[in-house]
Structures are given as C-alpha cells and as structure tokens.
C-alpha cells in the first residue's frame, strides 16, 4: 500500500509547541496521520521523516539504510553538517564492516561491567562538584557547575586526556553541536580537537597509560589520525548529551512536584526514572539520518534507493501504541523500550556510562539538596531549540 504524499511537505525542523518538553506538535500529528511522510529541509531538498516507534526500529535496524554521509541522498539537517560530510570518518558515520571493526575496539571499555566498576569514582566526582557548587552558594547555574563538568571529567579520565584542558574541549564540542555554527567554524573546531588528540596519541605512544587513547594506540591497528577521530567522537558524544540530560531532567522534575516527591521518597526508583526521563525528554531531537541503499518499504511506504530518511526518536518515544499516556512523565512506568539511545548497530556505545552518570547525579542532587528550586521564573529559562542536543542553556537554581 502506498499512501499519497501531502501536497505541501512539512518544513523541517518544525517549531516546538506550548510545552518545551514535548516534541513539535507537527511530528506528533505526523505520527498519527502520516507516519512516513515527506519533509523539506533548510536547503529546499526533501527526504522522508519516520515517526512511529515500530517504523523507527525497522529503519535503524536495517543496515540497507546507511549511516554513511558520503552517499548521495544522505539528509543533512544543517549546512555545516553537509559541508563536513566528506571529511568526517568516525564510525558513527560508517557502515559495517568498517563500523563494526572500529566499534568493537571500544565495546569492552563501555560494557555494563565496566560502567558498574566506575560507580564509586563517578560518585566521588559528583559529590566533589556538588560540594563546590554549594560552597559557591546560591544561586548557581546547574549546567556549568554540575551537569557539564561531571561527564566532562569522566570522559577525560577514561580517554586519558588532561582535564586541565576541559574548557578547550567544551568550547569546541559546543561549536560542533551548534546547528547555527557555520561550516568553517565547525571545521576549525574539529581540526583543532583532532590535532590535539593526534598529538596526544603520539605522546601515549612514548608514555603509555591505561586510558582508552593509549590502549587504542598500543593495539597498533590504527593510524594516529584514526585514533584521533575515534577520540573526537567519544569526547563530543560523551559531553553535552549526558550534561543536557542531567539539567533537563532536573528541570522536568522540578516542574512536576508529584514525580519529584515520589522519587525523593523512593530513591530506588532512580533507575526506571532515568529510563523514563530519557524517553520523555529525548534530547537527540533532530532525528537520526540514514539513506536507503535499495528500494525498501517502511510502514507501507516505498522508499527508493538514494532517498534520505530522518528517524524521529522524540516522536517514536511518545508513541501511544507502545507507551500508554505517552505524553505524561511517569517515573514508575516500564519505559525500557524507548529509543533515546537510537537502535540498530549504531545504538549509543556510551549508554551504560551515561546511565551510571545520570543515576548518580540525579540521586545525589535530590538527596543532598532537599530544598532545590529554580532561582529564576520558569518563563525565563532558555531552551536549546537550535542545538543538535536539546536541553537548557542555563539552569539557575537555589536550595
């Protein structure tokens, strides 16, 4: 069955509606009325948008939908990302078998057991940054004093990168993930980080340690450039994601006193709560891009070879067919089927680590600051609508 396209394709990205925690109403409507639909991108080009949970899983699990941005037809949601397509080589934009070869060099470092072993260290880091924030006194910006430094320090430790340089990374990864950055800005930020990591790889060759960069170098299978691009992916992917989840989760809970009270009363709920917040907030909100390598059918719609697809994780995570009352935050619900970390062989490599960081950060914050509250009117909070990773620009809090 092939449904007719609407005459005027939806223009992408669509604006968010009244509630900043909800995906754009146009995506929600598309999921109900035309789950595989045409959209027009910033440059006038068109591609498909997939919004149902079942269809998003089908596309992301089928490797005939390629992640390789060098293929013709690959959809780019910004100018900057298109300009860099032919230059980027990290495995998030490669297909198997190259993707699997590179990813498998890292899977052991991010497996569940490894993340669990890190718990005491992460707890210390979380406590330290919270101590410092409390010492500085209220009001404090939860983003810069708590949410961002935690994943930043953790990923630096894992990679064997000097945390003293963290502002250098944070600034550059922010540029790389800002949809408003020009191609030149992104290119410069990326080149500087790659150069830094390349020099680091050379140093680890001479002075090895037990960090990931050093061990990648020691395997002897990768060039320094490949080590650098892998390090870059981990650094960028591991920073802003966890940071924005931490601050946006805090805000969502502060705005929902019933859920907040429940979580405070039952700290054991923190694990399901983090899954539910991942589902409800879906911070990777611009859709995962893929391109069809042959004619394929998704949800009754034929997608031709060479046509692009955006898989809307945010809409899929609000699919009523999977999550009853999907637009409600409910920390006690079964939400493990969410696709906030993607799906298929590219599903987030760092998810066990992200979960440990989020669980510890939220549990500690709520336990240690029982009077936590916003230090500005809610209406003044600026949301990251134009950033690749959703969240808030700053979160002034008092306690």
């Amino acid at each position: 069955m092939t449904t007719a396209h609407p005459v005027t394709p939806l223009s992408f990205p669509a604006p968010r509606g009244a509630c900043p925690f909800d995906p754009p109403p146009a995506y929600q409507r598309a999921r109900r009325e035309q789950p595989v639909t045409r959209v027009t991108l910033w440059d006038g080009s068109q591609c498909w948008m997939v919004t149902r949970h079942a269809d998003v899983r089908v596309v992301l699990r089928d490797q005939r939908f390629s992640s390789d941005a060098r293929r013709p037809g690959f959809p780019f949601v910004t100018d900057g990302r298109r300009a860099l397509a032919n230059e980027s080589t990290s495995f998030i934009r490669l297909d198997d078998p190259e993707h699997a070869r590179l990813r498998r060099m890292l899977t052991a470092d991010f497996m569940i057991k490894k993340a669990e072993v890190l718990r005491p260290r992460v707890q210390r880091i979380v406590d330290d940054f919270l101590d410092r924030m409390v010492e500085h006194g209220a009001p404090a910006d939860l983003v810069t004093e708590f949410a961002l430094p935690i994943p930043s320090l953790v990923i630096c430790l894992l990679l064997g990168v000097d945390y003293a340089d963290h502002t250098y990374f944070q600034e550059r990864s922010r540029i790389m993930l800002n949809n408003g950055s020009t191609a030149d800005e992104i290119r410069q930020a990326r080149d500087e980080l790659t150069e830094y990591l390349g020099r680091l790889a050379q140093r680890k060759r001479r002075e090895p340690d037990d960090g990931i960069i050093s061990r990648l170098v020691a395997r002897g299978e990768l060039t320094d450039e490949e080590v650098a691009s892998t390090g870059l992916l981990l650094l960028v992917a591991g920073h802003e994601t966890t940071a924005n989840m931490t601050s946006l989760s805090t805000l969502a809970l502060l705005r929902d006193p019933a859920q907040l009270t429940r979580l405070r009363a039952e700290p054991a709920l923190v694990k399901p709560a983090v899954e539910e917040l991942l589902r409800f907030l879906t911070i990777v909100h611009f859709g995962l891009p893929r391109v069809a390598t042959e004619d394929l059918e998704v949800g009754g719609q034929t997608i031709r070879a060479g046509e692009g697809v955006l898989c809307m994780l945010s809409a899929a995570n609000r699919d009523e067919e999977v999550f009853e009352g999907a637009d409600r935050l409910d920390i006690g619900r079964e939400s493990r089927r969410h696709v906030a970390f993607g799906f298929g062989v590219h599903q987030c490599l760092g998810q066990p680590l992200a979960r440990v960081e989020l669980q510890i950060a939220l549990e500690t914050l709520l336990r240690r600051l029982p009077g936590l509250r916003l230090a500005v009117p809610y209406e003044d909070i600026r949301f990251r609508t134009d950033m690749a990773i959703y969240g808030v620009h700053e979160l002034p809090v008092a306690w």
Partner: protein, 65 residues
Amino acid sequence: MRVSVDTHRCCGSGQCVLAVPEVFDQREEDGIVRLLDERPSAELHDEIRTAATVCPSGAIEVHEA
C-alpha cells in the same frame, strides 16, 4: 524456551545484560554477548522476551516451547 545469540550481529550494547544478568553476559575482551544459559527457567522468560525486544541489533532469538 530455548535462547540463542548471534555474536556476529551483536553490537555490544549491553541491553540484554541489564535486563537478565542471569542469562546474558558480555565477553571480557570485546563486550560481545555471551549466553550463560540456553534453557533458562520459566520465571525469567518474560524478561528474556524484553531483552530480545530491546536488543538493538536483533542478535537474540527466542524459541518458544
């Protein structure tokens, strides 16, 4: 119920280990799935079905009966 895993498909996401650590583990050397129990007891069956559903790469097969 009989369970099987395909280590070539597995991308080491760890979802199965989170769901049913009694039945799934990850190999020390590369984080790829390791099946601990091919014929798990009945009280684990629901969670195993969940593991198969959330496995991103489709590496877990559940043979009912």
